[in-house]
């Protein structure tokens, strides 16, 4: 198949994949009972009434993990082309890739020594 064809396939898939789960949900709409009342649509908390707001500011810990992940993920995207070309790389191009991974490890070691990787 043509390159463009492959992406057309993914395009159609992207549209269709969320639509297919809609079908059983719509199907259920035909059969299911629809007797909503105030008590049913309350927030579930094991029978206790909810206190305070749920949508709060979350702990900064999650944000830090997100940041470290972002560093790794962006560098991963840059490492994949290196991996694809690995089988025909010259030694210096190979060494450049290794250097890049070392820099990545450096970031990990920094975060490690700072102690932010420990879950508190």
């Amino acid at each position: 198949m043509d390159v463009l064809n492959e992406w057309a396939f993914i395009g159609v898939f992207l549209v269709l994949a969320p639509i297919l789960p809609v079908l059983p949900i719509m199907g259920a709409w035909l059969f299911r009972p629809k007797r909503a009342n105030v008590l049913k649509s309350q927030t579930y908390e094991c029978g206790v009434e909810t206190v305070g707001d749920t949508w709060v500011q979350f702990r900064v810990q999650y944000y830090i993990y997100g940041l470290i992940f972002l560093v790794f993920d962006v560098e991963m995207v840059l490492l994949f082309p290196w991996a694809v070309a690995y089988h025909k790389l010259s030694f210096f191009a190979f060494a450049a890739g290794l250097l890049f991974i070392f820099l990545l490890t450096d970031a990990l070691i920094y975060a490690w020594r700072k102690g932010i990787l420990i879950w508190r």
């Binding site: 159609v12 297919l20 909503a36 999650y62 993990y65 993920d73 991963m76 994949f80 025909k88």
Partner: protein, 408 residues
């Protein structure tokens, strides 16, 4: 764009070429997307049967022969359940999350090569596509937790996202290994590169790392902090009922098997099996081999207790991530050295080419890489064992001290 098969037939029958192209793609998508959705119905039965056997139960055995129709009965039950949206929830996101959850898993199947000739889309960047699409599932969980406006759900979603995001790093690093060995990100090329020797023998460590982190990505025990029934009741999907809950449920079950299929493609040689190269049998081999990681995953799920979030994070950041980086570095270095001394099969341009090489040619290289992997593992596993012994001893000491203090 070329036009073959169904598209060609339609064009000759007088259909507009563009429309014919679109129709053939649409049919292909429907075929590819139906396979996982049909599979999941039987996967649920298989998983329940295996779980039951491990726990010394019989499992579903009333509805139909061997309880095979149990899933259909459950489906009908879910269809008839009332669908409640909490009054305080964000309606749009709340309804979109289950759709995204299942779609994220189904989308992976677009690049799964069933046989050498039957693949949804043989993308040049298949491996990268998998990483991109699989993280949509994380997004779905985050959306579900946030939109439910429920504290259990939100806490579950927070934990899950921290967990999934962390375990994606060793996953992607392990994924780098087959890409390096095959010299391509296309799933079909990766399988072709394993015609002589499966990658699991060249890079067993990468295979194990991929398996562990994919187990975490599905949120299965010992990483099932998503659900953590005793703390979070049900986690992110607590407010969902009826068919919407069913979608999350199906997505999880399907994800486990999808990971089995991916491990088969990346490390177990896909449709290759010594002595069998027929296309139709190829499909069978892929399915059968996918059951090996799938079964191990179920086995672990039903025998290992849940870890605490801090233990899970520690295991990832202080063990899996450094190990996966070291693994890539050592493998890259060793293959380069092996190429210099001529133990790696090369093509006429001098580039590494595993696809054309046979079993015998690949044997010396495989043995060296396998031994190097074992050598990396031995001190690390040894250290882990020692740490475990020390922790147990410390806990024992604490207990004795407490007992003595109580005795006084």
């Amino acid at each position: 764009m070329d036009c073959t098969g169904l598209c060609e037939v339609l064009t000759q029958g007088g259909t507009d070429p563009g429309l014919a192209q679109f129709l053939s793609i649409l049919l292909g998508v429907l075929l590819v997307v139906t396979v996982p959705l049909i599979t999941v119905i039987f996967l649920i039965w298989i998983e329940r049967k295996i779980a039951a056997r491990i726990q010394d139960r019989l499992g579903p055995n009333r509805v139909g022969p061997f309880g095979l129709l149990q899933t259909f009965a459950d489906l009908i039950k879910l269809l008839a359940k009332e669908d409640i949206t909490p009054a305080s929830a964000d309606r749009l996101l709340y309804n979109a999350a289950p759709l995204l959850s299942l779609a994220a898993v189904a989308l992976i199947w677009a690049v799964v090569p069933y046989t050498p000739y039957h693949v949804g889309a043989d993308l040049d960047i298949g491996a990268l596509y998998f990483v991109a699409v699989a993280s949509l599932g994380t997004l779905a969980i985050m959306i579900a937790g946030w939109a439910s406006n429920n504290k259990y759900a939100l806490l579950g979603a927070f934990r899950v996202v921290a967990l999934l995001v962390s375990y994606e790093i060793p996953l992607v690093f392990a994924l780098l290994v087959p890409v390096m060995l095959a010299g391509s990100m296309s799933m079909v090329d990766i399988i072709h590169a394993q015609s002589g020797m499966w990658f699991i023998f060249m890079a067993p460590l990468a295979g194990v790392l991929f398996f562990i982190s994919s187990q975490a990505e599905t949120g299965r025990a010992p990483f099932d902090l998503i659900e953590a029934e005793s703390e979070l009741v049900a986690g992110f999907n607590i407010e969902y009922s009826g068919m919407k809950f069913g979608m999350f449920f199906a997505a999880e079950f399907l994800h486990v098997f999808t990971n089995g299929v991916l491990i088969t493609i990346l490390f177990l040689g896909g449709w290759y099996f010594p002595g069998w190269q027929m296309p139709l049998i190829a499909f069978m081999w892929l399915g059968l081999k996918a059951f090996i990681p799938y079964f191990i995953s179920l086995w672990i799920r039903n025998t290992v207790p849940r870890l605490r979030i801090d233990q899970v994070m520690k295991f990832n950041w202080f063990f899996l991530v450094p190990l996966s980086i070291v693994n890539v570095l050592i493998l890259a270095f060793l293959v380069m050295v092996l190429k210099e001394i001529g133990w790696v099969p090369v093509d006429e341009t001098g580039a590494m080419a595993l696809a054309q090489a046979g079993f015998i040619e690949l044997l010396p290289m495989t043995i060296v890489l396998f031994i190097s992997n074992v050598l990396i593992c031995v001190p690390i596993v040894n250290r882990l064992r020692r740490m475990g012994v020390e922790q147990r001893a410390a806990r024992e000491q604490l207990r004795t001290q407490r007992a003595m203090a109580a005795g006084d």
